[in-house]
Symmetry: C2
Subunit: 347 residues, 2 copies
C-alpha cells in the first residue's frame, strides 16, 4: 500500500516524523511518498494544494496528514489559505465520514478542565459529515435591494448524503455500546428536520441500535455537564466541527486526539485534531501522540490491520500511564523523546 505523507506546516512535520518512526518499527509492507500541502505548498508552489499533491493523494491508499496553518498566509485571499487544502482534499476524495474519538487516557485526569471524576467518564466517537452542509453550499457576498453588502452561505443536505453518514453512525455504534445519538437543530432548521427524518428512516435497518436525538445547543451543554452519557454521536459538518472540538477539550489535551476522514471504500485521510501551532514549531515541544494515534486509525480503517492499530494504541496508553509527558501534558519530554517512550512500549 502507498501512504501519502502530507506533513504540512508548523509542528506538522515533527509529529508526522514520529508517526512514521512508529509505523517503520512494525515491519509492515508500506511505501511512502511525500507531498507539499498548506502554507508550505503555497510558498513553494503558489497553491496550498498543488496538482502534484492532489495527484499523490488520489493515487495513495491512505494519507497521513500533519497540520496546516501559517501566520504568513493569514492575509491571503481565502482560496490560497492553508485550510483550503483540507477542504479541497475532503471534497475531491469524497471523504464524507469524519471519525473523531474523544477519550481521556488514564493518567491524564489532571489535564482536563473538568473535574477528574467527570473527565474519566469520557469515551465517545463523534461521526461528523464532512463534505456537505453550509461548508459547501452556494455562498458569496451580494448586494441587497438597499445597496447593502450581504454575506450568504447555504446550509443543505440531501437524503442520500444524510443516509450514508447515518449508516456510518449506526455501524460505529454497533462496534461499541449499540447507542447512537443524532444531533441537529430540527426546531429551527429544515435541513435538520430532513436530517432527523432520514436518520429515523435508516434506523429501520439497525433495530439493534438505540437511536436518540438532541438539539445542538443542548448537546453543547451536556458535553460539559455530563459527557459520560455520550457514546456515538452523528451530526452534520458544522455542528460536528464545533462539538468535536468541545469534546476534545473536555477530554484534556488536544495533543492526544486523532481523527480519520473516510470515503465509501475505506480510503482515508488521517490527521491529529490539533493545528500547526506555529508558536512552538521546530522546537521539539509538540506532542506526537495525536499523529501516532492517527497512524493507528489508518492501519485499522484503510489498511485492514486492526492488530497493528491495537498495538500502537496500547503502546501510547502504556507510555502515558508510566508518566511520559510532553509540555502540553505538564511534562518535559521532547517530541522525539515521547516517540522513544512509545517505541519502547512497542518492544
Amino acid at each position: 500500500p502507498l501512504i501519502a505523507i502530507l506533513a504540512g506546516d508548523g509542528i506538522g512535520p515533527e509529529v508526522t516524523a514520529e508517526a512514521r518512526r512508529v509505523l517503520d518499527t512494525l515491519g509492515l509492507d508500506l511505501s511512502y511518498e511525500e507531498g507539499l500541502v498548506g502554507g508550505a505548498a503555497y510558498k513553494a508552489a503558489g497553491h496550498p494544494l498543488p496538482p502534484e499533491t492532489l495527484d499523490l493523494a488520489r493515487r495513495a491508499d491512505a494519507i497521513l496528514f500533519g497540520a496546516v496553518g501559517d501566520p504568513d498566509c493569514d492575509a491571503l485571499e481565502r482560496q490560497f489559505r492553508p485550510e483550503q487544502a483540507i477542504l479541497g482534499l475532503r471534497k475531491d476524495l469524497g471523504l464524507f465520514a469524519n471519525l473523531r474519538p474523544a477519550k481521556l487516557f488514564a493518567g491524564l485526569e489532571d489535564a482536563s478542565a473538568l473535574r477528574p471524576e467527570i473527565a474519566r467518564s469520557i469515551d465517545m466517537v463523534i461521526v461528523r459529515e464532512l463534505t456537505g452542509d453550509v461548508y459547501f453550499g452556494a455562498k458569496g457576498i451580494r448586494t441587497t435591494a438597499d445597496g447593502l453588502r450581504e454575506g450568504h452561505d447555504e446550509m443543505r443536505y440531501d437524503e442520500a448524503e444524510i443516509a450514508r453518514i447515518a449508516r456510518v453512525g449506526f455501524e460505529t455504534a454497533r462496534t461499541r455500546k449499540g447507542k447512537l445519538l443524532s444531533v441537529d437543530k430540527a426546531n429551527v432548521l429544515e435541513t435538520s428536520q430532513l436530517w432527523r427524518d432520514v436518520v429515523i428512516e435508516v434506523s429501520a435497518d439497525y433495530p439493534d441500535v438505540a437511536l436518540s436525538h438532541m438539539y445542538v445547543d443542548n448537546a453543547a451543554m451536556q458535553l460539559v455537564r455530563n459527557p459520560g452519557q455520550f457514546d456515538v454521536i452523528v451530526t452534520g459538518n458544522l455542528f460536528g466541527d464545533i462539538l468535536s472540538d468541545e469534546a476534545s477539550m473536555c477530554a484534556g489535551s488536544i495533543g492526544m486526539l486523532p481523527s480519520a476522514a473516510l470515503n465509501g471504500s475505506n480510503k482515508g485521510m488521517y490527521e491529529p485534531i490539533h493545528g500547526s501551532a506555529p508558536d512552538i514549531a521546530g522546537q521539539g515541544k509538540a506532542n506526537p501522540c495525536a499523529a501516532i494515534l492517527s497512524a493507528a486509525m489508518m492501519l485499522r480503517h484503510s489498511l485492514d490491520l486492526p492488530e497493528a492499530a491495537d498495538r500502537i494504541e496500547a503502546a501510547v496508553a502504556a507510555a502515558i500511564l508510566k508518566g511520559a509527558r510532553t509540555p502540553d501534558l505538564g511534562g518535559t519530554l521532547s517530541t522525539s523523546a515521547m516517540g522513544d517512550a512509545i517505541l519502547a512500549e512497542l518492544g
Copy 2:
C-alpha cells in the same frame, strides 16, 4: 410601565410567580397584564403565539417570559410548536440583541462540572444576534435533479444587521473590561467573512475597546479549557445559541442564568435560559433565580432602574452565599422557599 407576563409552559408559571413577588416588594410603579404563550396557548387558542398575546407584547414596555415547551406538542407541525412563539416574538418585535451573562455565583463552585478554580473565573456576557442568520433565511425542502429530498436553510447577514449587533457588543464591552471578542467561522463562511470585516469597520468608532476574533470551533474548545479568558463575546444567532448554552453549563446550573432580548429602543423580552422542564413542573422544585435575575435585567435595560436591578442581584447572591439551594443546586428548598430567601435579603 406595562409589563407583559408570558409565563408559558412547565415550570414557567412557577418561576415567573416568584419574579413577580420580588418585583412587587420593590414598590415600583409597574402594571402587569398576562398573556398565553407556547403549548398552553396552543391548547387554549390553537396557536403558540395568539394574536392577543402578540398585541399585548407590542403594547408592553417589557416582557417577562417564563418558558415554553410541552411534550404534548412535539408531534405538531413546526409552525404550531411552542418554540415558534419565541422566534415569532423576537422577529416581530425586532429583538435583535440577546444578552446572555454567564457567571458563577460565589458558593456554587461545586455545581459546575469544571474544576472549582476554573469555574470561579467565569464571568462573561455573550451578545448574540437574534433576528437573522440561518434561523430566518430562506428555507424548505426541495427535490434535487436526481429526485432526492433536499433540506436547505440560508445563512445570511447584511452589513447593517452586523453593524448594529457589533455596536451592542462594543457598548457592552465599555461597561466591563473594554475587551470584545467576535466569534465567527470566517475560514469557511462568506457570511462570517463579512461579519468579521464589518465588526472591524465598526471598531473604528470604539478605539478604547480591544477587539479580537476567534473561530467558533476554537471558542467552543476554549470555553471549556480556560473560560476565564472571556469577557464580552459577540456572535451570530446560531453560534450564539450553541456557545451561550455551553457557557452557561460551565458556570454551573442553568437554573441561575437570565437573559435579555432587546430591540433598538430598550424594549425587551426577559427570559431564564432554562427550558420548561416538564418533568418537574408543578412540583415546586424549580429554581426561580434565573427568572428573578431576568426581572432584574428588565429593570436595568428596559425600565432604567439600575439601582433596583442591583438590589435584586445582590439579594440573589446573598441568599446563595448563605446556602439557599433548590434541588438543582443540591439543596432541598422549594421554589417559593427560595423566593422567600431572596425576599428576606431584600429586607
